[in-house]
Subunit: 199 residues, 2 copies
């Protein structure tokens, strides 16, 4: 029996489509989508953020890895309007606090870190901060990492406003809120930054 | 009409169940699950890792935020067995390379960072590394962050083995492979590390 050309083509396409579909699925799981959808959100509606969501967000931060599992971190979660305004008044870099529903200050504890290293405390809290940003995005909220460390003056203001001890490094202030939708994700892929097998 | 007690109870339970279900759903999106399921995987089967998956993983790394969007990073992706063995020979901290299918070395470029700051380069590449670990987990693979920075000797060995320039800081060596299933996630939640509104 001779098959018409269109049937042969259809069969060939059908045979191809399954691996392609599988590959597509591998390319777009929900975690990868969140990683690529996350963007720095600076425009908030002013709506509050639920305490239960803030708990989930901080819990995600604590799931980060740390050198020798030392977990050299602590978190100040701010929802009180007066405290948010006080941070805003002292930090020109964190004006987004005005309409944020909350903020998380991720604190590095060098005394608790592997080898009591400031570097490890900063590395570990940076990983925790990234978990926080992704958790925020996954919940339909928005956030932006505004740096405190390594700026001594910004760290002083954050410590003073929130009563953070001198030996603790406030790594950042992360305003969190409901996005207005003003910001879109950027494509930051650069093939020239990938080296295969050697530099 | 008088309702029997069991009917009243059933109706009360039905009225309660919807908000609880919604809350459960909020608590467990796929991204949060990946964040909590991720663990340091040190036991690999020895199976290779596909190049297309490594590309997805590095792409996720590059989606991290960075201070003033400077993206002060580069990635050496190693799949060549001789190179993996050479890294393994020099790094007692990275013995998991023996059965890993690949490794990614996340490199910090202080010269490219905001204010040309070593600290910002380390912070930004730490966030990128966390994205890499989560992408790995989301693809059903496993990985472990073994530190190179701030250890001068480890950084020297990594630079020498992979031909990385002197001014570049190899932050870590991340062996990646197919997990044997030996490791389970840890619950690292500590309520005493959360401060509400002030320290």
């Amino acid at each position: 029996m001779r098959r018409p050309a269109w049937l042969a083509l259809s069969l060939a396409l059908a045979a191809c489509s399954q691996p392609i579909a599988e590959q597509q699925e591998r390319r777009s799981n929900e975690t990868l989508s969140t990683i690529h959808r996350r963007r720095s959100v600076r425009s908030f509606t002013g709506a509050p953020v639920e305490r239960s969501q803030l708990e989930q967000i901080v819990r995600a931060g604590m799931a980060a890895p740390s050198a020798i599992n030392k977990q050299p971190w602590a978190f100040v979660v701010v929802t009180d309007r007066a405290q948010l305004d006080a941070l805003n008044a002292g930090l020109p870099s964190a004006k987004m606090l005005e309409k944020a529903g909350a903020a998380i200050v991720v604190c590095a504890l060098p005394g608790e870190a592997a080898r009591q290293s400031r570097d490890f405390a900063v590395i570990d809290t940076s990983a925790a901060s990234q978990n926080i940003l992704l958790a925020v995005e996954s919940l339909g909220l928005g956030a932006v990492w505004t740096a405190a460390f390594p700026d001594e003056e910004r760290m002083r203001i954050v410590r003073q406003t929130l009563g953070i001890p001198e030996e603790v490094l406030p790594l950042n202030v992360i305003p969190i809120g409901h996005p207005t939708g003003a910001e879109k994700p950027k494509d930051k892929y650069r093939a020239d930054r990938i080296h295969w097998d050697r530099w």
